[in-house]
């Protein structure tokens, strides 16, 4: 990712805080949204971005994070449906150029992939990695 981007991260859990710390140290402007103020404790002391406490499924909370100016939004709360809704709002209503939603449920990921929402599915990625680690790549089966 290029530096000096304006990035909104929804969800400040382990993944969210790790991304926020790294993007912030690479020079991006980062806003992190989480419902629980205590979640921001996961951020490093060097983190120089902004924090918004609130439910990202509420329009006002996204507006407070100035979503209309964002270059990129990463929806990575632990709730698939919140991520999918926020990603669609960001993409369809605020025309954020780059939007990615984390979706744990592989079948749900498939549905939204078809409809132009970029998703990342940790369940599927882990399964693929594990399968390849045990020497059982799905691609190799066809030959």
């Amino acid at each position: 990712m290029q530096p000096h981007q304006y990035v909104i991260i929804i969800g400040c859990g382990r993944l969210g805080s790790m991304l926020a710390n790294q993007l912030s140290s690479l020079g991006s402007s980062v806003v992190v949204i989480d419902r629980e103020e205590s979640a921001f404790g996961n951020l490093s002391t060097e983190f120089s971005g902004f924090l918004v406490t609130g439910d990202a499924a509420e329009l006002d909370v996204l507006r407070r994070a100035r979503i209309d100016q964002a270059d990129c939004l990463l929806a990575i709360t632990q709730y698939d449906n919140v991520n999918l809704m926020v990603a669609q709002v960001a993409q369809t209503i605020f025309q954020v150029p780059k939007v990615i939603a984390r979706v744990y449920h592989p079948e749900r990921e498939g549905v939204y992939g078809q409809f132009g929402i970029e998703t990342i599915c940790p369940t599927r990625l882990s399964a693929e990695a594990l399968l390849s680690a045990v020497g059982n790549q799905p691609e190799a089966k066809q030959s």
Binding site: A57, E58, L59, D60, Y79, D80, N81, V82, L84, M85, V86, Q88, V89, T92, I93, H105, E107, R108, G110, V111, Q114, F115
Partner: protein, 224 residues
């Protein structure tokens, strides 16, 4: 008609009464409830197929018969769950009508933009009922007359009423309407054209129903 109802927890009462109502109308109802205890209880109480599961999970919706459903109605207390359940039903299973409850009224517009065919916000419905009530709280509908062709109603003029200080002749009341009586300080006056209305007058009106809104607006300055 095949209907899938999704919800439970905070909305369990609504799910129960709706599934009972739909079953009485002869619809084939399937309820998807995330809580196994509630699902078990519902399956004993209503004539519906009850599935314990997450209504936004494609596999659960398929099990609920989404491929053949006419309507999917998602009524959970979480807006994102309602959105995704309806979108999955629509996109993956081509359900013709998807209806969602929105708990946050701001989401009403968003859900429509994201393709949900019918969206309703309980907050907004109740809010607008109260608003209507307060706009016209000075109006009492007394009774319909002549099989409903005429309505008799009563209203009070407050300080902001544009009609106060005017004579009936100046008011230009719409056709087929009449200020039949003015009640002022406990006295009943049957007015003529030159009689002037005052603040705190109670008016007895007779009008055809189509003109009522216009008259209320002309007299009180509110509504329309």
């Amino acid at each position: 008609m095949r209907v899938i109802l999704i919800g439970g927890g905070e909305t369990i009462e609504t799910i129960y009464f709706l599934s009972r109502l739909f079953a009485r109308r002869g619809y084939r109802v399937t309820v998807v409830n995330p809580y196994p205890d509630e699902a078990r209880m519902l399956s004993r109480q209503v004539k519906a197929t009850v599935i314990a599961g997450d209504g936004s999970d494609p596999a659960v919706l398929e099990e609920a018969g989404a491929r053949r459903a006419d309507v999917v109605l998602s009524l959970t207390s979480q807006d994102p769950d309602n959105l995704v359940a309806c979108q999955v039903a629509q996109r993956l299973y081509s359900v013709p009508r998807t209806m969602a409850l929105v708990n946050d009224p701001d989401n009403e517009q968003i859900f429509r933009q994201l393709g949900i065919t019918e969206v309703f916000s309980a907050t907004r419905v109740i809010g607008s009922l109260i608003e209507e009530q307060t706009v016209f709280d000075e109006i009492v509908h007394l009774f319909p007359a002549a099989e409903g062709q005429l309505h008799v109603s009563e209203l009070v003029l407050d300080e902001e009423a544009p009609a106060a200080g005017k004579s009936l002749a100046e008011l230009a009341m719409p056709k087929d309407s009449l200020v039949a009586a003015i009640i002022r300080d406990g006295q009943v006056i049957v007015p003529r054209g030159q009689d002037r209305l005052q603040v705190a007058d109670r008016l007895i009106l007779i009008a055809v129903p189509e003109n009522q809104e216009e008259i209320f607006c002309l007299l009180t300055g509110k509504g329309a």
